[in-house]
């Protein structure tokens, strides 16, 4: 007996938005990244079902969608915590002690880089340059940037996140 599954589709709102976006390009495939963003916003990560659903909405074959999803680092290919923390460790942040920030986050969350807390609240990863070199060190949580960080600021930010 197969278990009942959540229907693997995009929301009506997203499907309508996709139709709108298609008019901006001569080929519907150009909407692929945006449609994948929609799926990720709705589901948190992009599963095989997600790739199939997005592909169907744009008439793009699954193998192509898979190729695209695996190329771009911002698409989550497995479930992540409610808050995905991405700490920039590239040169400008490194010169301003981003390593210490990563260590502080690992200690505080009791996980290593690449892991998710057992309560699935936080995932910690290192990021390539976020374009915050003048406000280093920096991190991104979801769509939000946090800059000019130190350990105390990080603690305040984490305490405020539900």
């Amino acid at each position: 007996m197969s278990q009942a599954t959540i229907p693997a589709t995009l929301s009506e709102k997203s499907l309508r938005r996709i139709e709108e976006l298609k008019t901006r390009y001569p080929h519907p495939q150009a909407v692929l990244l945006e449609a994948l963003w929609m799926w990720q916003d709705e589901h948190g990560w992009i599963s095989e079902e997600g790739m199939k659903a997005v592909g169907a909405a744009l008439d793009v074959p699954y193998h192509h969608v898979y190729g695209v999803v695996t190329f771009y680092t911002m698409f989550n290919r497995k479930p992540v915590g409610r808050h995905k923390i991405e700490v920039c460790t590239n040169v400008s942040c490194m010169l301003r002690n981003s390593e210490r920030l990563v260590k502080h986050l690992e200690d505080r969350l009791k996980i290593a880089v690449g892991e998710t807390t057992p309560d699935r609240k936080f995932t910690l990863v290192e990021a390539e340059c976020l374009g915050s070199c003048g406000t280093a060190p920096a991190m991104q949580i979801g769509d939000r940037y946090f800059e000019n960080l130190d350990a105390a600021k990080v603690d305040t930010i984490l305490n405020e996140l539900s």
Partner: protein
């Protein structure tokens, strides 16, 4: 020089404030000119692209066919991902209408009826800000059908990336926009003949577009007299690393790097010596701190000094910096971002990284220095796009200018050199 790209006008991001300060008047002016006249102005101004290659913008525009049976496209490159670069972000946030106005003028000059502004996926906040500005410009009739009753129509759409440095490479950007993996394309054919969906396409950087209304406003003659004669105009210089007041500063081209570091960015914390400077983003060749006298932020001066302007992202490193750690991190970046199409880049960046990690742990052999250089030399020039070069140049220049740092760590079997303590002043 009074700031032209980022003038200190409160709320300039709002369309009413932008219009009150003379905004969109240059687009009106352009609509009253012949498209070729607009291109001529830009050509004569000597504006060179601000995305890294310093290619003459007006000349690039002339590559577009005047009569084309196929649609023509403009892509504005806002993928800004080069480590040390954070300038386009300032335009998105503080002066988005200047970017939009420049883009519209460029479209008109080249007879383009669809422009895409590609912005890196991480910049969601700035995408929303620019989208608001685009919506307002549509509402005021600056974008759309029969613009200001001129009979000219064009659209401008924002396209969000999803995390890939390589998509800042123009042909990769086009593939990404088409909904593909961001693989760079072999050139020729060049985008002006065969770009987006096989149609004539021009790709210009965000800051380049923002310069266009300024050229029309002050005239090509005045513009060409700002800063360095062969690379004129205002330029946004980002300063990061070991400086007291990091940030983006607008200045004319041709300002000495030492003035940028000391006058604009407040000098080095603790008045420490400058050990090294990366002048134009992580892919540009590293310069020695004791060889900065007379080196200026313009294409000719930096070329003569053995580096390049790139995206004018200046990264300053003080005397306590472990440069082997820096070059290892930079190489890790290029290895991570290599798209994997070309063997020299895909494999070579990984080999360089493995070797550099041995240097980092003082576990390399003296012969590894030349072996590392050999790998870098065999990546440079042997790949489809410039990412291979971008990975090779930092390594080559680091070995050339700081060979002693490598020699100190090439002591396999002896006790490791202690890593210098991090700069406590920055904690």
């Amino acid at each position: 020089m009074e700031p032209l790209l980022l003038p200190p006008i409160p709320d300039l991001h709002r369309i009413d404030v932008y219009e009150a300060s003379g905004g969109y008047a240059m687009f009106r002016k352009a609509l009253g000119m012949k498209p070729g006249e607009v291109t001529d102005e830009v050509k004569k101004s000597n504006l060179r692209g601000r995305g890294g290659a310093c290619f003459p913008t007006g000349l690039k525009w002339t590559f577009m066919p005047k009569d084309s049976a196929k649609p023509k496209y403009l892509c504005v490159n806002g993928d800004e991902s080069e480590p040390g670069t954070f300038k386009d972000r300032q335009i998105f946030e503080f002066n988005p209408h200047l970017l939009i106005e420049g883009t519209l003028i460029a479209c008109y000059a080249m007879g383009i009826t669809t422009a895409y502004l590609y912005i890196r996926g991480e910049y969601k906040r700035w995408i929303d800000l620019v989208q608001k500005a685009v919506d307002d410009a549509y509402a005021r009739g600056y974008i759309g059908t029969d613009i200001l009753g001129s009979g000219y129509s064009t659209n401008l759409y924002i396209h969000r990336g999803a995390g890939a440095y390589i998509c800042g490479e123009e042909s990769s950007l086009m593939n990404s926009l088409e909904g593909q993996r961001g693989y760079p394309r072999v050139k020729p054919p060049f985008p002006a003949q065969n770009g987006l969906w096989g149609c004539p396409t021009t790709i210009n950087n965000v800051e380049t577009m923002a310069n266009v209304p300024i050229i029309l406003r002050i005239g090509w003659e005045s513009y060409s007299k700002i800063g360095a004669p062969k690379h004129p105009g205002p330029i946004l210089v980002g300063v990061s690393g070991h400086v007291n007041t990091p940030g983006v500063f607008e200045m004319p081209t041709g300002v000495p790097l030492l003035d940028i570091i000391h006058q604009y960015a407040g000098g080095v914390p603790g008045n420490k010596r400058i050990k090294a400077v990366i002048p134009g983003g992580s892919s540009t060749m590293i310069l020695r701190g004791d060889a900065l006298d007379g080196v200026c932020m313009d294409a000719d001066s930096l070329k003569a000094a053995g580096s390049s302007v790139g995206t004018a992202g200046v990264i300053v490193m003080d005397e306590d910096t472990d440069l082997i750690k820096v070059i290892t991190r930079i190489t890790e970046f290029y290895h991570h971002e290599s798209c994997g199409q070309c063997t020299p880049c895909r494999e070579g960046t990984g080999w360089m990284l493995k070797m550099l990690r041995r240097f980092e742990q003082s576990d390399a052999r003296p012969a590894d220095i030349d072996l590392l250089l050999d790998v870098a030399n065999n990546i440079e020039g042997n790949t489809i796009c410039a990412l291979g070069d971008a990975a090779a140049w930092p390594v080559q220049s680091m070995i050339k200018r700081f060979r002693d740092e490598f020699e100190r760590r090439a002591v396999r079997g002896t006790s490791p050199t202690p890593t210098p303590a991090p700069a406590e002043a920055l904690a």
